[in-house]
């Protein structure tokens, strides 16, 4: 209270006149009194004045000093008063909130959800998209890609890469890259490891300091060099036992490999790689139509993307033009470069930004909801505010007070929201969904907190400003006369209708988006993928090429192992296949009908008959492979329905002939395989991709293909694939203890392939549900308030004989008018906004009427319920009681 006392006096540091006037008067008074005293001592008046001035000293200088001191004093006091006022407002706001704990709790929950959703999604966007890639000078890093005849990006052919590297000047380094999993023996136990084959320039592109040992050197990167690997620290520690490097001799794909270095954990390119090995010593295809390599590069200093692209494109066109002996359909038509970040993050950018937008919509719904609640509460507080206003609080003061309440709510809500987001982020990192790159880098850091703080302030303004301005604008007389019943709220009905309508519209947009994703997902799941994943175990197998010296040894292993598996109780079928569904399969040119000039394009899969049975791929015509199709028998093949229809339309495919083209090179000896059967189509690459024409060959006649990569698929007789895994693990260990055991269910593989869609659908669905509930709560609140306000009117109506149902209809129709308006606006908004989701939809149009109608009906239903409950409660009241209550 001291400040009010001080401000009330005429002097003090805030005098009635300006500081300079204050100082001047004080000095003048001094000199006058001094002169009077001198006169009393007998001086002449003029001389006395002169002497008084002299004794005073430099009046200008003294005045200047005094002004400076007092001015800075005033500034300090004003600052303190402002802080005092803010602190007082905060305490007042806290008291107001604790007086209505129910409201405070709901408001905090609303804000925690809204701000938490934004914080969580932003922390993902920040970690995955915004932060620079965790490599040295990441802006110089690029992918180089070939362009195929359809104008699409395509992996590079080895000779093309060699020419790029030799002839280009735009790059400080260019490296081929091929990553996959392979079996590693010689560690603690046989293990599958993520391995990347890289070129000599790789460490120039990604400078990294090994923890132990060394990186690969140019001598390791020449044909014929002894094979070496560099491993990640975690792989070395966990799988290799962390021993001295010179104690290891690993066996990788049939070669004895030394471990020369260990890399720190903070380096991972490609993400998740455990071993890096030189690509050059491996036998490389010299064909320009065999596209096996991704190429990564670092731009030379000062070189832009455009120049690099033009150069690489020109080189590609020139060298490809000379490859006259190769099939032009499989040659590059050019090449281009893209920033590494675009390639790494391109797929997730759109869904993540979509979710961030959706989170913003949720927050808007929350803001709208709070604004209307605050208005309703504010009308009830009209009397309190009017009293404060008549006691001299200015309008600005009251607005500040009300905004402080909003800000306090918002900041507390944000704190809770950050807590929620931290939980979500921790869960996300633990789940480490495979579709999300850099998920390990997601966290709540300074940037995220800054974002949250900004969101909190913006939120407070959004939901607080309108009610604060409205309520403070009410004249004191008006509010006091109305007895604080908030009668003035009638004038605000328009605002409420607007707010509720907005809430409904926003919620509808979110619900429509979710409905579209759900419909896409259902459509996707209901598609006939051509195989049955529900009861299948998948065992990836890679055999030691030292123990199994020839491909025929591999074939004998599968003969024996498959026979053993079929004898296991509970196994109804088992087979080997080079490409499990969702893994994709190599495709290329094939020859037809015994004619080397008759070409087809198909996917190439090597399998046993048991694989078709285990996967429930139906045999449509002819027969599957059997013991008649041994290594020394005439070659046979099975085609899928698409292949048969595309290349032998209207003919019987059984008895035709086909080759495996460059995938097995038998065509060079003019060996054609006779088609013995037709099977159903399978979605091999992903559930969203249409089946591709495919040719299957028996593993006994092409055993070398199973050496690259193969899986044994096992069908459980009782449909319970997980229950079988223990028995399978046991059999595999007995069959060959050097094969790493890693059994998955095919349904798990299929589910993982839908991970990103499911993630986006779940998150958006959660957001929509939140918005739906918030909108319902908002409508409930507004209708409750309007019923409470009109109790007297309804009492009179009913006392005069009005039918309670009629009154109910009256209240509800008023509520539903704003809901319907909101729905109309929401549908229009959804029609515009859902277009941004186009790439996430499958066989569903962004303007799909079923999805829109579902969303609108759901919302309308919730709105009806939310307005019926309070309306009915209102009409149940005894008219006499309500009238006496006045």
């Amino acid at each position: 209270m001291t400040r009010r006392g001080r401000a009330g006096r005429s002097g003090g540091i805030f005098p009635r006149f300006s500081v300079s006037e204050d100082v001047a008067r004080e000095i003048r008074a001094h000199i006058e009194m001094r002169a009077e005293e001198l006169e009393a001592e007998g001086w002449e008046p003029a001389a006395a004045r002169e002497e008084a001035r002299r004794l005073f000293g430099d009046t200008q200088e003294v005045a200047r000093k005094c002004r400076t001191i007092t001015a800075s004093h005033q500034r300090a006091v004003r600052r303190t008063r402002k802080m005092d006022a803010i602190w007082q407002d905060v305490r007042y706001a806290a008291r107001t909130l604790t007086r209505s704990p129910g409201f405070a709790l709901v408001a905090l929950l609303t804000l925690a959800l809204g701000i938490g959703a934004n914080t969580a999604i932003f922390s993902v966007v920040n970690g995955v998209l915004l932060r620079p890639l965790p490599y040295d000078r990441p802006e110089q890093l690029v992918w180089v890609s070939e362009i195929n005849t359809r104008g699409r990006p395509m992996a590079a052919a080895w000779p093309n890469f060699v020419d790029w590297r030799n002839e280009s000047t735009s790059f400080a380094g260019l490296s081929p890259l091929s990553d996959g999993t392979t079996t590693v023996l010689g560690g603690e136990a046989p293990v599958r490891a993520a391995v990347a084959s890289v070129g000599e320039d790789f460490w120039k592109i990604f400078p990294v300091q090994p923890l132990r040992g060394r990186l690969t050197t140019p001598e390791d990167h020449v044909p014929g060099a002894a094979p070496v690997v560099v491993v990640s620290r975690s792989f070395w520690q966990n799988e290799l036992g962390g021993r001295a490097l010179d104690t290891y001799t690993l066996e990788v794909q049939g070669a004895q490999v030394s471990v020369v270095g260990v890399l720190p954990d903070d380096f991972g390119f490609p993400e998740g790689t455990q071993m890096w090995t030189p690509a050059e010593p491996q036998n490389q295809s010299l064909s320009r139509s065999s596209h096996n390599w991704r190429v990564v590069g670092r731009l030379a200093p000062g070189v832009g993307l455009e120049r690099a692209r033009d150069e690489i494109d020109a080189i590609t066109r020139r060298v490809v033009a000379q490859a006259t002996d190769e099939d032009p359909d499989y040659l590059a038509t050019g090449a281009f470069t893209v920033p590494l970040a675009d390639q790494v993050l391109g797929d997730v950018r759109e869904p993540l930004l979509l979710l961030l937008g959706a989170a913003a919509l949720v927050l808007l719904v929350a803001c709208t909801n709070l604004a209307s609640t605050l208005l309703a509460k504010g009308a009830a507080r009209a009397r309190e505010l009017a009293v404060r206003a008549s006691l001299g609080a200015g309008r600005g003061r009251i607005v500040t007070q009300l905004l402080t309440e909003s800000l306090l709510l918002s900041v507390l809500g944000a704190a809770a929201g950050v807590g929620l987001a931290a939980l979500v982020v921790r869960g996300l990192r633990a789940a480490a969904p495979g579709f999300l790159p850099r998920v390990g880098e997601v966290g709540i850091d300074g940037t995220v907190l800054l974002f949250t703080a900004a969101v909190a302030v913006l939120t407070a303004l959004l939901f607080g400003l309108l009610p604060a301005r409205r309520l403070s604008g009410m004249g004191p007389g008006e509010a006091l006369r109305s007895g604080g019943r908030g009668n003035a709220g009638d004038a605000r009905g328009g605002v409420w209708r607007f707010l509720v309508g907005t809430e409904v519209a926003l919620a509808l947009v979110l619900l429509a988006g979710s409905a579209l994703l759900v419909r896409s997902f259902r459509t996707l799941l209901s598609e006939d993928a051509g195989f049955d994943a529900s009861d299948v175990d998948v065992i990836p197998i890679s055999l030691s090429q030292i123990k199994y010296a020839t491909a025929d040894d591999d074939a004998r292993f599968y003969d024996r192992f498959l026979a053993e598996l079929e004898a296991v109780p509970g196994v109804s079928a088992a087979g080997v296949v080079t490409s499990v569904p969702m893994e994709g399969a190599p495709n290329g040119r094939m020859e037809l009908d015994g004619d080397l000039d008759k070409h087809a394009d198909g996917e190439y899969v090597v399998a046993s008959a048991g694989a078709f049975e285990a996967l429930d791929i139906p045999l449509l015509e002819g027969r599957l492979f059997d013991e008649r199709d041994g290594p020394d028998d005439a070659h046979v093949a099975v085609v899928n329905r698409s292949f048969a229809q595309k290349y032998w339309p209207g003919e019987d495919p059984v008895g035709k002939s086909v080759t495996g083209g460059g995938m097995d090179n038998f065509y060079q000896q003019r060996i054609f395989a006779r088609v013995i059967g037709v099977v159903g189509d399978v979605r091999q690459r992903s559930l969203t991709r249409e089946p591709y024409p495919t040719v299957y060959f028996p593993y006994r006649q092409r055993p070398f293909r199973t050496r690259y990569s193969a899986s044994v698929v096992v069908e459980a007789a009782n449909g319970d694939a997980p229950a079988l895994t223990a028995a399978l693990r046991d059999r595999l260990r007995k069959a060959d203890p050097d094969v790493p055991v890693r059994i998955r269910t095919l349904s798990g593989v299929v589910r993982a392939s839908l991970g990103e869609r499911r993630f986006v659908m779940m998150v958006l669905g959660g957001f929509s549900l939140t918005a739906l509930i918030l909108a319902g709560v908002g409508i409930f609140g507004v209708v409750s308030y309007s019923v409470a306000r009109r109790t007297r009117e309804m009492g009179i109506r009913m006392a005069l004989g009005a039918d309670p149902d009629g009154v109910l209809r009256l209240v509800m129709s008023a509520a539903m008018r704003m809901v319907v308006a909101g729905l109309v606006v929401g549908v229009m908004g959804a029609l515009v906004l859902t277009r941004v989701m186009r790439s996430l939809l499958y066989q569903v149009s962004p303007t799909d009427p079923v999805a829109l109608a579902t969303a609108a009906l759901l919302l309308a239903g919730a709105a009806l319920l939310a307005s019926w409950l309070p309306a009915r409660a209102g009409t149940r009241v005894d008219p006499m009681i309500t009238m006496r209550a006045e």
């Binding site: 005429s10 002097g11 540091i13 204050d22 008074a29 000293g57 003294v62 005094c66 001191i69 007092t70």
Partner: protein, 113 residues
């Protein structure tokens, strides 16, 4: 003047002002006159130097000021000690006495004994 004027020690003007105001509210000129008479004009201070010192004390909230009217009907700015000012005066006095005693002990002692 029989003896030459003394330089006022740094910081002592503040204590002198506080001491002056301890008798009750005074305007600037009265403070100046009282100081002049009480010290018998021993110190060589320009009268104007008092005013920045008063305002510095006000900024430190040791004194507060108010425009008012003198007995002779003149408008003047009156200064009054705050409770913080009274405390400051007490500690100023204590420090001064310790200072004087210490100086006295040294300067009154026999060197080399």
């Amino acid at each position: 003047m029989a003896e030459p004027s003394l330089e006022l020690l740094k910081g002592t003007l503040d204590v002198l002002i506080l001491k002056t105001l301890s008798g009750g509210p005074m305007h600037g000129y009265a403070v100046s006159r009282w100081l002049r008479e009480a010290t018998e004009e021993a110190f060589q201070v320009e009268e104007g130097a008092l005013y920045p010192a008063l305002r510095r004390l006000e900024k430190r909230e040791l004194v507060e000021s108010e425009w008012s009217v003198t007995d002779t009907g003149r408008e003047a700015k009156f200064y009054r000690l705050t409770s913080a000012g009274e405390a400051e005066l007490r500690s100023g006095l204590r420090n001064w006495q310790r200072y004087v005693q210490a100086m006295g002990r040294v300067l009154g002692a026999t060197v080399g004994g």
